[in-house]
């Protein structure tokens, strides 16, 4: 990055272990990335590659029984969130770091009014009460372009369509005036036109608020539309990070290459067909060497024995692959 500004979020060597009856493994494995204010960083990869787990780790909301953040740092605004107490951590959630979930049909509480679900955040994070509370909630619904906000407040989630519900989730996320928005596949469950409208809305809000967005997706069309930079995840690791256009023009990691090759055309919306042979490894499988080696067309002997370090190339790519070791 050539910008002068300080990153709002720096994730360093984050490791989140997951365990259960089937064994133990790293769902998030030595993940590092930066997010600048006002920037959108895409986190892409197949399902199970650790994208969602990375997001939840930032908020420290990974499932408590099965997972444990064992190492690294999550530096937000100069402070390491992994060192905060539970109560301190709650002060960050919804206020400085908000989240939008994948499925708007299930993300809102079905028995509470939309109003109550927004009020809750406003009371908690802005200390509003009474008329000011209603007014602020109406403003939020207006910001996410919900027609007739006053009526929206008394409605229940089932009165809204999927696209509208995702806007309500957006309004809740904005209630605390956050610095970062984590969007975990926010449009995957929406149909195409609704998707486009929602992404536009997100962009315009981002510009107004200088919101840093961590955008999880497996859809490259959405990536090219939304993201300034992209981090590609595979088996819990970030294998390549680059500015979006550079990643599309000249992928440097064999996994990114095959991912892009399997997308027929960025502008055409088709089901992604990952034509990469083989399966991604299970989190619980023992690891030696590069996790992509079994499926990599260019794998060498070294790849199977040693894990490649992440290197920064001259063109700004950060890649973890032995091919780029001089």
């Amino acid at each position: 990055m050539t910008q002068q500004a300080q990153p709002i979020l720096q994730v360093r060597n984050l490791v989140t272990r997951i365990g259960g009856k089937r064994g133990f493994g790293n769902a998030v494995d030595d993940v590092s990335f930066d997010l600048m204010p006002g920037e959108t960083l895409g986190l892409v990869g197949e399902s199970g590659s650790g994208k969602s787990m990375t997001c939840l780790s930032v908020l420290r909301l990974t499932p408590p029984a099965a997972t444990h953040i064992t190492g690294g740092q999550v530096i937000f605004d100069g402070e390491d969130l992994l060192r905060k107490t539970g109560a301190e951590m709650r002060g960050y959630r919804g206020r400085r770091i908000s989240m939008i979930l994948q499925d708007p049909m299930r993300a809102l509480n079905p028995v509470l009014t939309v109003g109550e679900q927004i009020f809750e955040s406003l009371r908690l994070h802005r200390g509003l009460r009474g008329a000011a509370l209603r007014e602020a909630a109406c403003e939020l619904l207006e910001r996410v372009r919900i027609p007739d906000p006053a009526a929206g407040l008394t409605a229940y989630p089932h009165h809204f369509s999927g696209g509208m519900r995702q806007r309500v989730v957006g309004a809740i996320a904005l209630a605390g005036n956050p610095d970062i928005l984590i969007a975990d596949e926010p449009t995957t469950a929406l149909d195409v036109t609704v998707q486009a409208a929602f992404l536009d809305l997100l962009k315009s809000i981002q510009r107004q608020d200088r919101l840093g967005i961590l955008f999880v997706t497996h859809d490259f069309a959405v990536v090219s539309r939304m993201c300034d930079r992209v981090a590609v995840m595979y088996a819990g690791r970030i294998v390549e990070t680059a500015p979006t256009d550079m990643l599309f023009d000249r992928p440097r990691h064999p996994y990114t290459e095959s991912l892009l090759r399997s997308v027929p055309d960025v502008d055409r919306r088709e089901e992604r067909l990952y034509a990469i042979p083989g399966q991604p490894p299970s989190v619980f499988a023992p690891r030696t060497g590069c996790p992509f080696a079994p499926r990599c067309p260019r794998a060498m002997d070294r790849c199977r024995q040693e894990t490649p370090p992440t290197r920064r190339l001259d063109d700004g790519h950060e890649v973890s692959c032995w091919l780029h070791e001089e």
């Binding site: 002060g91 959630r93 908000s98 299930r106 955040s121 989730v169």
Partner: protein, 304 residues
């Protein structure tokens, strides 16, 4: 909503009719009240006169029709034992039975809501085992036995609470505890599994990302959703409490409907027994109706 209410009313009437027929026939197959009411040295003539006066000599179908004809006019006959109108005897006692059952239900909720929630939140750990154990103990102990043990401890030894009868709130404590505890296990188990499911839901995840405190997430966001499937069961259990109240009323000498039904069975006091059972049926039907309505209160998706 009106259609729902109407169809429920028709169902309720049909249920009452069928119940009345069954009780009518069953009661009469148990023997003649003449054997019990008349002195043992009554002459056959006296006996015949009594039977004729009570209409017991007519065919059973005719007796039933007469019963129905009078019933729609609010006349359920007079007690064979005391001569007082059955309605008077029965309605005198319904209130006490309902109060006791409601107190029992309140105890059950007081026990099982916290236990069910805590069991789910602390799944697989101490609280979970304690909750299930405590609730199961109440379920597997026969109510009359538990009642007697509690009477021994709190009324006979400690002399803290009265052993029987009605009066102040103290009289409610032991019987409602027995009733409530005995039905807690089912509610705890159901609520626990319902809570476990809800706690995994996406909207719970969202509630946490909002920065809400965990008690708010659990008691406000999760519990209300988890209660939806439990409400029917609680209504059903209210019926069970009212029914099992017969035993409890006898054990605790509680002069309620159950005790009356018990006595009228012993005496073959048909009019009173019939009306008691019909009132029981009406109560259960009424509860089911309330359960349907409360669904709408708790789940907005049903309201619209």
């Amino acid at each position: 909503m009106t259609r729902l209410i109407l169809s429920r009313l028709v169902q309720a009437l049909a249920t009452l009719l069928v119940t009345s027929l069954i009780v009518f026939v069953l009661a009469r197959s148990s023997g003649s009240p003449a054997d019990l009411v008349l002195p043992t040295d009554a002459t056959p003539a006296e006996r015949a006169l009594y039977i004729e006066r009570m209409g017991l000599d007519r065919p059973i179908a005719e007796q039933y029709l007469i019963f129905l004809r009078d019933a729609v006019q609010g006349d359920f006959g007079v007690s064979i034992r005391t001569g007082a109108p059955a309605t008077e005897l029965v309605f005198d006692r319904v209130g006490r039975t309902l109060l006791l059952a409601t107190a029992g239900l309140a105890v059950a909720l007081l026990i099982s809501l916290p236990l069910g929630v805590m069991a789910a939140v602390h799944r697989g750990r101490g609280w979970d085992r304690f909750s299930m154990g405590f609730a199961l103990l109440g379920q597997s102990t026969p109510a009359f036995w538990l009642g007697i043990v509690l009477i021994l401890i709190f009324a006979v030894w400690l002399r803290w609470l009265p052993s029987s009868g009605v009066g102040g709130w103290q009289h409610y404590v032991l019987p409602s505890l027995v009733l409530g505890w005995s039905i807690s296990a089912g509610i705890v188990r159901l609520l626990r599994s319902s809570m476990l499911e809800v706690l995994d839901a996406e909207f719970i995840k969202l509630a946490r990302t909002k920065g809400l405190r965990e008690p708010v997430v659990v008691w406000k966001h999760a519990l209300r959703n988890a209660l939806i499937p439990v409400v029917t069961f609680i209504g059903f259990m209210y019926g069970v409490i009212i029914a099992s109240g017969v035993v409890i009323e006898v054990v605790f000498g509680w002069p309620g409907l159950g005790y009356l039904a018990y006595e009228s069975t012993l005496w073959r006091d048909f009019p009173v027994l019939q009306l008691s059972v019909l009132v029981y049926t009406a109560i259960i039907v009424g509860i089911n109706f309330l359960v349907d309505v409360s669904y709408g209160l708790i789940d907005p998706r049903i309201r619209t």
